[in-house]
């Protein structure tokens, strides 16, 4: 019997958009994952605390739809330096105000230490599978 896979899910601190968050939670549960959903408006330290509670989580998934992803995630280097959030951090959504700067916004998030930036939720399960395969190797 396959072991239960677990992920942490939430929406960035300044963002109350719940629809995509709920959809992704349903999608992951349907795909067999256990999902700890921290919901909307979740500051990064709250993700860190949840990971301490659920050390078996294989990734931290953060949605951001209001264009403020970079501001909401700016504590990531500090937390990582303190040994927190040592799992792949995957960010998805509308990452910047306006379309033109999407690539730029993605680069800035990666510079901050975000591990993966997704533009479409259907990429999520394949990415989690590939990350797990790497860990297994």
């Amino acid at each position: 019997m396959a072991e239960q896979r677990l992920v942490l899910l939430g929406v960035a601190a300044s963002d109350a958009h719940a629809v995509a968050n709920r959809l992704i939670a349903m999608h992951l549960r349907q795909a067999g994952f256990e999902v700890v959903n921290l919901g909307t408006c979740t500051p990064l330290p709250e993700f860190a605390a949840a990971l301490r509670l659920h050390p078996g989580a294989e990734a931290v998934l953060i949605g951001s739809l209001n264009g403020h992803a970079h501001a909401d995630l700016r504590e990531l280097p500090d937390l990582r330096a303190k040994g927190e959030l040592r799992r792949p951090v995957i960010v998805g959504g509308n990452l910047a105000v306006g379309q033109a700067s999407a690539a730029e916004a993605e680069r800035r998030l990666l510079d901050l230490g975000v591990d993966h930036v997704l533009r479409d939720a259907v990429e999520l399960v394949p990415l989690l599978d590939s990350l797990r395969a790497k860990v297994a190797v």
Binding site: H17, A18, V19, R22, L23, I24, M26, G39, T40
Partner: protein, 462 residues
């Protein structure tokens, strides 16, 4: 002007607001001035639906310009949409952003500007204003609204909490809105009729009509119990015209059943609140369709969208054009359009039954406010896609073959077997690739099929 004091106001306002505002008797005197025209007057006088745009920018002079530009398009009421900082009570932050970068504000920070400027807004246009926001707790904002001479105020403890906040207890928001409604009751006794509007749109995406109407009617019932006399109940267009017409007509019937006879109830349609098409032709057609739906459903007013909905806050020109697009759907030339009344009556009957099965367990018992809080905690009341932890969010909606919004998962809602069977006869439940199905339902109108050009050639515009 005598020194203001907290006790002046018939609700708890902050000491800072009390210090800034004129004394309550002066506010009442201002509101009672015979030359003042109130939203309630407009709502009462209307024979056909009128259009009301959303409208708010940070800078005062730009706000005046915007109101002036929109007035040219002939709305029945105009809005003062409040910025996000103010909505959350962060008046100081709003004031700082206003000083530093007013264009960063996504609405008008009324308290930061002060009530004198609020009176400027009222004086600048010939139609009454409504304050629209999204505050779970709005007593200070309401005090500024009244002091400005504005007597229409949107919001309630459910609809302005669950979609906007993660962790404001429902009891807190409901109790704070009860104070606002009590103040409205005192004003009614003084002869000032405040229009209180309830945001049945909730989270705005695939909202089953009975969930929308149940929540708005609960807020309306609490408001009426606290003394409010003029109630506007807003329902969000699903985009399926029979369902929407039936839902709008159900409001009047349900109000007669659940609200006291002495209140007046106005029916409001929110133009489609979900994912809007980017194609301007599709967007304009959807706006027109919404207004036409409002006329068919007998609404008093339509809260409007614009062709720039998909990309954020619209320009004044796009907003004015949106008003005109909605007015096209209200043209008397389209009065020949009628629907199959048999189908509507059937749909309307089922909506009323669903609402009754949600409301009756809450209202048949003790204090409704407490019972609402516990019903949401138990999931016997619920909202899909809730942002708040104080609603279960276990209900899952979906569109049936005609596009009507049904329950894909009832969650903990206490529906009868008959209601469940009727729902399921339209929408097969179960979860075959739920993400894909729900995404398609959510993007129903985003797919560029609402204008003649997209229908003829779906590739013409990406």
């Amino acid at each position: 002007m005598s020194a203001p004091s907290v006790v002046d106001f018939p609700m708890a306002v902050s000491p800072a607001a009390a210090a800034a505002l004129p004394p309550w008797p002066e506010v009442v005197r201002w509101l009672r001035a015979p030359e003042r025209r109130h939203a309630a007057d407009v709502l009462r006088a209307t024979r056909r639906p009128f259009v009301q745009p959303r409208c708010g920018v940070g800078d005062h002079d730009r706000m005046l310009e915007l109101l002036g530009a929109l007035e040219q398009a002939g709305p029945g009421l105009l809005s003062v949409t409040i910025d996000s900082h103010t909505r959350l009570g962060r008046f100081d932050t709003a004031a700082r952003v206003l000083r530093e970068r007013p264009a960063d504000l996504n609405g008008y920070p009324l308290p930061a500007h002060g009530w004198e400027r609020g009176r400027d807004l009222v004086a600048a246009v010939g139609v009454p204003l409504e304050v629209r926001h999204g505050s779970p707790e709005a007593r200070d904002l309401f005090a500024y609204t009244l002091a400005s001479g504005i007597t229409s105020f949107e919001g309630g403890g459910i609809g302005y909490n669950l979609p906007y906040c993660k962790d404001v207890p429902l009891r807190d928001s409901l109790e704070s809105w009860r104070e606002i409604d009590t103040a409205c009751g005192e004003l009614a006794a003084e002869g000032v009729l405040v229009d209180r509007e309830f945001f049945g749109t909730l989270t705005g995406v695939l909202m089953p009509p009975s969930t929308s109407l149940a929540c708005a009617l609960l807020e309306a019932r609490l408001a009426a119990d606290a003394g409010v006399r003029c109630l506007s109940i807003a329902y969000p267009q699903s985009g399926e015209v029979y369902q929407d017409t039936a839902a709008l007509r159900a409001i009047t019937a349900l109000a007669a059943r659940y609200l006291p006879a002495h209140v007046e109830v106005h029916v409001v349609l929110h133009e489609f609140m979900g994912v809007f098409p980017r194609c301007p032709g599709c967007a304009e057609a959807l706006i027109l369709f919404g207004a036409l739906t409002a006329r068919l459903g007998g609404a008093a007013k339509v809260i409007n969208k614009t062709t720039q909905e998909a990309s954020g806050i619209p320009t004044a020109a796009a907003n004015a054009r949106g008003i005109r697009s909605a007015q096209l759907g209200l043209s008397p030339l389209l009065d020949f359009i009628a629907l199959d009344e048999g189908l509507i009556a059937e749909e309307c009957g089922w909506i009323q039954r669903e609402v009754a099965e949600l409301l009756d367990p809450v209202l048949e018992g003790g204090d409704p406010l407490s019972r609402i809080v516990s019903a949401f905690a138990r999931g016997t009341l619920d909202v899909p896609f809730s942002a708040s932890v104080h609603a279960r969010g276990s209900v899952v909606p979906g569109r049936d073959a005609r596009g009507a919004v049904r329950y894909r998962d009832f969650g903990g809602l206490p529906f009868s077997p008959a209601v469940r069977a009727h729902n399921d006869s339209h929408l097969r439940r179960g979860r075959p690739d739920l993400l894909a199905v729900l995404s398609a339902d959510i993007n129903h109108f985003a797919a560029g099929r609402s204008c003649e050009r997209c229908a003829a050639d779906p590739t013409w515009r990406a």
